[in-house]
Each structure stands twice: as structure tokens, then as C-alpha cells.
């Protein structure tokens, strides 16, 4: 009688275990799926300002790191030259077999060598030779190379400024291009909204038999709408190109995402100084010009150094030598020196001079030619930089005028849109006027934004050609 109850209890227990397993499995699965969802969640979109993007690009750019490595290499060159002013030590340590030798003796007026002469009477020897030399006077070999190396370091540091300016200019171009493209997308969407709206109204009027609208109006909508779509695709492409270029410059991972903190292009109109002031500033402040000036000075010192190589170098030196061979007797005499068994030291002043029949002179001529080449490069830059500055300056002036003109044009065509829509909505206007107004408004608004983009990029370019962009 109790068995069924037992069986029932057992069934209940098994059911409880079974349910528990299901619950645990379910909870684990749900947790897993929640975790998976959490893991797969889209990364947080960073909102970045122009300054933040610039900082990130400059901090992570391999282009800047190349410049920094170049500075390190130039500094190593400088250290090398500066160290040449201090004493230099050369030590040579050798060891090897040496024949055993006994001190000679005099027997019956003859010098007798009692050394064993067998081939197995070999010992070992060790010897160390040390030379310490200190340059005393080099006719400018060291000082000229030191000055050249110093300027080399400065030139490489200016090279980093140049790279920074290039990157900042590139970032500004891309940043403004992205803002431009995003605004373009907005304008295209706006136009699309207008076209959809007007289409419904024209279709309704046509159904009612209105005579001031017909099929050609619908075809016109299709044409304008397709044009807006094409423009939107172009803006989309422009946005993506700028987005990926900025992402790449910032060294962002593929999974990272960002958006711009600002929706509009800067509208400030700078009071430009006279063109001549920018030209003067460019010749003075541009990193390439500063770099060139350092390069010219460095080359002049290298030329001087090559000339110094035609003259001797005076130095002071200490030499010492210690050698020992256990199988050989010490034979102390100032007339003979046992190469395997001795110790001596001394100091002296010396002169070292290399002379050849034209090799050194050719090197001097080459350095002079390099110097001359750099002077000509500077002269060329001094001719071209004013042209470049003038070109960019005039472009900025033109864009500033265009900004004002297109702003007025956009405002006027917006009035046209308002009037065209209002009249059409009252039944006293035509669809044709609306299309013309929207087209003109789109063109002028687009031209205004483009002029604003060109103006801002132009200003950045002006700062770049003048050399103040990275300041």
C-alpha cells in the first residue's frame, strides 16, 4: 500500500530534479545570451571636436614618430662629434703560444743562448697594449662638425613642426569636408521632403481636373528627385571618405566609431592683413624656410670641416704595454724588447696628417657644391613662396566674397521658395515655379556651404603656407 506513495514521492523528487536542471539550464542560457548580447553591443560613438581629432592624430601619427626618430638620429650624430673632444682609449689583448727562452749568458767571451730548442718547449704568452689619445688642435675638424651637427638637430626638429602642420591641415580639410557632406545630406533630405509633398498635391489637383497642373509636372518631380538622390549619393560618398580618412589618421580600430561635435562650418570672417605681411611672415616663419636656413648653416660648417681635413691634427697620447710568458726569462735591457715578456709606458705629443693627390680637395669641392645648391634652393623658395602665399591669399579673399554673395543668393531663393509654395497652395501659382525655386535654392545653398568650406580650408591653407598653423 505504501509502494505507490513511495513511487509517487520518487516521481515528485525526480520531477523536482528535472525541473531544477531545466531551470539551471534556462538561467545559464539566458545569462549566456545576455552576456553575448552585452558583448555584441555596438561600441559607444565618440563625439569629437576638431581640436580633439587634431590632438589624437598628432599623438598617434607614425609620420610624427618618423620625425622624432630622425631627431634622435641627429642627436646621436651630435653626441658622436662632441665625444670626439675627449680622450679615446684603444686596448688590444692578445694571447698565444711562445717558445720558452732562458736568459743568455756569456761564456768565454761568447753569448750563449741556453734556451731549449725542441719543438715541445713551447709555453703561453699574454699581452695587452693600451693607447690613450687626446686631440689637441685639429684646425676646425671637430668644431665645424659639431656646429653642423647642432644645426642638423634643429633642422630635424623643425621637420617635425612641418609634419605637424601638414597633418593639422589635412585634418582640417577632412573635418570640414565631413561637415560639408553631412550638411549636403541634410539639404538632399530636405529637397526630397519638398518633392514628396508637392507630388501629392499635384496628383490630387490632376484628379480634380485642374488645368494648371499636368503629367509634365510629375515628370519634373521625378527628374528633380533623381537629381537630389544623385547629389545625396555623392554627399554620402564624401562623408564616408572623410570619415574613414579621419578614423585612419586617428588610428582608431575598425570597431570604434565617432561623430563630429559640430554640425556647422565656422562662419567667422577674419579681417585679413595686407598680403605683403603674410609673405614676410612666410619667409620668416615657415618651417621649411627655417629648416633650409639651418641646413645652409650646417652645410657651410661641413664645407669648412672638409677644408680642415686638408690640415694635420695635433694630439697627445699615452701608450702602455704589458706582456708576460711564464716559460721565458725576463731580459731587461733598453736595447731589446721581448715582445712576449715586457712592461713599459710612455706619453708623447703627435701630429697626424693625411695627404693625397686630389681626394681631399674633391671632397671640399663637393661640400662647397652642396652649399651652393642649398643657397640656390633658398633663392628659389624666396621667389616661389610669395607666389604661393599670394595665390592662397587671393583665394581666401575670393571665398570670403563668395560666402557673402551666396548667402544673399540662398536667402533670396528661400524667399522665392516661400512665395512659390504659398502661391501654389492658394491655387494661384504653378508647380514649375516651385521646382525652379527649389532648384535655385538648393544650388545657392549648396554654393554657400561650399564657399564656406573653401573659405575655412583656405584660411587653414593660408596659415599653413605662412607657417603659423602648428602654433
Amino acid at each position: 500500500m505504501t509502494r505507490p506513495k513511495f513511487e509517487k514521492d520518487g516521481q515528485v523528487r525526480w520531477l523536482a530534479i528535472y525541473l531544477s536542471v531545466i531551470m539551471v539550464t534556462l538561467i545559464t542560457t539566458l545569462q549566456g545570451s545576455a552576456l553575448a548580447k552585452k558583448g555584441a553591443a555596438a561600441p559607444e560613438k565618440k563625439v569629437l571636436t576638431l581640436q580633439e581629432i587634431q590632438d589624437l592624430v598628432l599623438a598617434r601619427s607614425p609620420y610624427i614618430e618618423i620625425g622624432q626618430s630622425e631627431v634622435m638620429a641627429a642627436k646621436s650624430d651630435l653626441r658622436q662629434v662632441e665625444s670626439a673632444y675627449f680622450p679615446q682609449l684603444d686596448a688590444t689583448l692578445v694571447t698565444g703560444p711562445a717558445a720558452d727562452a732562458d736568459e743568455p749568458r756569456v761564456e768565454n767571451g761568447k753569448i750563449i743562448d741556453p734556451s731549449p730548442g725542441g719543438i715541445f718547449d713551447l709555453g703561453i704568452f699574454g699581452r695587452i697594449d693600451i693607447t690613450i689619445s687626446q686631440p689637441l688642435y685639429t684646425f676646425g675638424k671637430l668644431s665645424n662638425r659639431r656646429e653642423a651637427a647642432l644645426r642638423g638637430v634643429k633642422a630635424k626638429q623643425l621637420g617635425i613642426d612641418q609634419k605637424r602642420a601638414e597633418l593639422i591641415f589635412r585634418v582640417k580639410q577632412l573635418y570640414y569636408a565631413m561637415v560639408l557632406a553631412e550638411q549636403g545630406l541634410g539639404v538632399a533630405d530636405e529637397a526630397e521632403g519638398y518633392f514628396q509633398d508637392i507630388r501629392v498635391r499635384i496628383e490630387n489637383l490632376m484628379e480634380l481636373g485642374a488645368t494648371h497642373v499636368d503629367e509634365s509636372d510629375l515628370y519634373m518631380i521625378d527628374a528633380y528627385s533623381a537629381q537630389a538622390k544623385g547629389f545625396k549619393a555623392e554627399a554620402q560618398k564624401g562623408r564616408q571618405v572623410a570619415y574613414f580618412a579621419l578614423k585612419s589618421l586617428m588610428g582608431m580600430a575598425a570597431s570604434e566609431d565617432f561623430t563630429l561635435a559640430q554640425e556647422s562650418l565656422p562662419e567667422r570672417q577674419l579681417d585679413l592683413q595686407a598680403q605683403e605681411e603674410y609673405v614676410a611672415k612666410a619667409l620668416e616663419q615657415r618651417p621649411e624656410m627655417k629648416q633650409l636656413k639651418q641646413g645652409i648653416e650646417a652645410q657651410k660648417f661641413l664645407w669648412e670641416a672638409a677644408k680642415s681635413d686638408l690640415y694635420p691634427s695635433f694630439f697627445f697620447a699615452v701608450i702602455a704595454s704589458v706582456a708576460g710568458a711564464p716559460g721565458r726569462d725576463q731580459f731587461d735591457t733598453p736595447y731589446f724588447t721581448d715582445e712576449f715578456n715586457h712592461e713599459y709606458a710612455g706619453f708623447f705629443a703627435g701630429l697626424q696628417w693625411h695627404f693625397d693627390f686630389g681626394i681631399q680637395q674633391a671632397k671640399v669641392d663637393k661640400e662647397r657644391a652642396e652649399y651652393s645648391k642649398l643657397l640656390n634652393t633658398k633663392a628659389d623658395a624666396e621667389k616661389n613662396i610669395p607666389i604661393q602665399v599670394a595665390n592662397v591669399y587671393q583665394e581666401v579673399v575670393q571665398y570670403a566674397t563668395s560666402v557673402k554673395a551666396y548667402e544673399e543668393a540662398a536667402s533670396a531663393s528661400r524667399k522665392w521658395v516661400v512665395v512659390a509654395f504659398s502661391n501654389f497652395d492658394m491655387g494661384i501659382g504653378t508647380a514649375q515655379r516651385i521646382f525652379e525655386a527649389i532648384e535655385k535654392y538648393g544650388q545657392n545653398r549648396g554654393s554657400y556651404i561650399e564657399a564656406l568650406y573653401n573659405y575655412n580650408v583656405g584660411l587653414a591653407q593660408l596659415e599653413y603656407v605662412v607657417g603659423t598653423l602648428a602654433e
Binding site: Q183, G186, E190, G193, Y194, Q196, D197, V200, R201, N204, L205, E207, L208, A210, H212, E263, S264, L265, E267, A410, S411, R414, K415, V418, V419, F421, S422, N423, D425, M426, G427, I428, G429, R445, Y448, I449, L452
Partner: protein, 205 residues
């Protein structure tokens, strides 16, 4: 003497109240416009009404706000100008009705397209006895649209009777356009065009 003083006191209190009321009233036009635009902006930025699929819902909501704030009858009269005097009562009433429908629909669409998530500035308010002008600036990305609202006091409420977008008066534009049609054709021709348009918007409210 006491009586005189009391009368004087009552008069002083009366004029002071009047002055206070008129100052409070002077703030009303801008507040009225601000409230209207904020209501519109709330609709335009409502996440549940986002996207082109909710465009009609947004338009309907905006249309209602416009209806509460614009004096269509006054605007209709301004738009017809001198022609108004030549119309019969029946013509006037019909014109007012059609004008209301068309303008409410047209302006709602204009607002729907122009005012989105923009910041609105209120740089100037010019209040006279029963009329006022509230200047606003809609600030968009690289764009500023000046919209001036002309308001008139109706009983205790300020209502808009003209809107100038970028300096273009909508009522003024209608006045010129209507005048041209009436002179070239006739008032009846104008009304016929408007009737047709009314039917067209009625098909897709």
C-alpha cells in the same frame, strides 16, 4: 475732502493697475509666439513622431497649433485689401472660409519643412496699443532665417495676422498675387482656383 482723497486714491490705484496690466500685456506677444513655436518643436522632436512615415501626423498636429494662433479672417481681409469692400457678405464669408483652409494647410507645411530641431532666438519685440511685431531668428546649421510675426489684439488674446519670412510678407504677397488675378481675370476666377485647391487638400487632409 475725504471723498476727494478717496476718489484720488481710487484713480491712482486704477491707473497703476492699468500700467501694470499694460506692461504684463507687453510681454504677451513674445510669450504667445514662444509657446506656439515650442509646441511645434515638441512635435517635431518627438521620437514617436520621427521619420517620413509620421509626417502626416506631425503635419496634422502642427495644423491644429497654427489654427489656434492665427487670425485667418483678418489675414484674408488684408490679403484682399481694397477688393474686400467690393464683395458681398456671402462672398466675404466664402472667401474667408476657403482662405482659412488653404492658408492653414500651406503654413503648416511650411513650418513642417522649415522648423525642425532648430534653436529660436527672440531678438526684438515691438508692442503698440493693439498691435505687435515679434522678431524671431531660426538658427540652423550655417543658416539663420528671420521670421517676424505681426500680431493684433483680439479681445484678450494676441493672434498672428501676418508672417514675414526673410522679410517677405506672406499676407503682402497674397495681396499682390490676388490683385493681379482679380485685375487680369475676376474675383470669381480667383475663388474658383481656390475652391479647386481646397478640394485637392481635402483629398489628403
Amino acid at each position: 475732502m475725504k471723498m476727494r482723497l478717496m476718489i484720488l486714491a481710487v484713480l491712482v490705484v486704477f491707473f497703476m493697475c492699468g500700467a501694470i496690466r499694460s506692461r504684463a500685456g507687453a510681454e504677451e506677444p513674445t510669450e504667445r509666439i514662444r509657446a506656439m513655436l515650442e509646441e511645434i518643436m515638441t512635435i517635431q522632436t518627438d521620437p514617436q513622431l520621427e521619420g517620413s512615415e509620421h509626417r502626416e501626423e506631425r503635419r496634422a498636429a502642427i495644423k491644429q497649433i497654427i489654427g489656434e494662433n492665427i487670425d485667418f479672417d483678418a489675414m484674408a481681409q488684408i490679403a484682399l485689401d481694397k477688393q474686400w469692400r467690393n464683395l458681398s457678405l456671402a462672398q466675404r464669408n466664402e472667401f474667408k472660409q476657403i482662405f482659412r483652409d488653404l492658408f492653414q494647410d500651406s503654413y503648416s507645411r511650411l513650418v513642417l519643412n522649415f522648423i525642425k530641431r532648430e534653436k529660436v532666438l527672440y531678438p526684438k519685440e515691438d508692442v503698440r496699443r493693439d498691435s505687435a511685431t515679434v522678431s524671431t531668428v531660426i538658427v540652423r546649421a550655417n543658416d539663420e532665417i528671420t521670421v517676424d510675426y505681426s500680431l493684433s489684439k483680439r479681445a484678450t488674446d494676441w493672434l498672428v495676422d501676418d508672417v514675414k519670412v526673410d522679410g517677405v510678407s506672406i499676407a503682402g504677397n497674397y495681396r499682390n498675387a490676388f490683385d493681379r488675378v482679380i485685375k487680369k481675370e475676376s474675383f470669381e476666377a480667383l475663388l474658383n482656383r481656390m475652391r479647386l485647391q481646397q478640394k485637392a487638400i481635402a483629398k489628403s487632409p
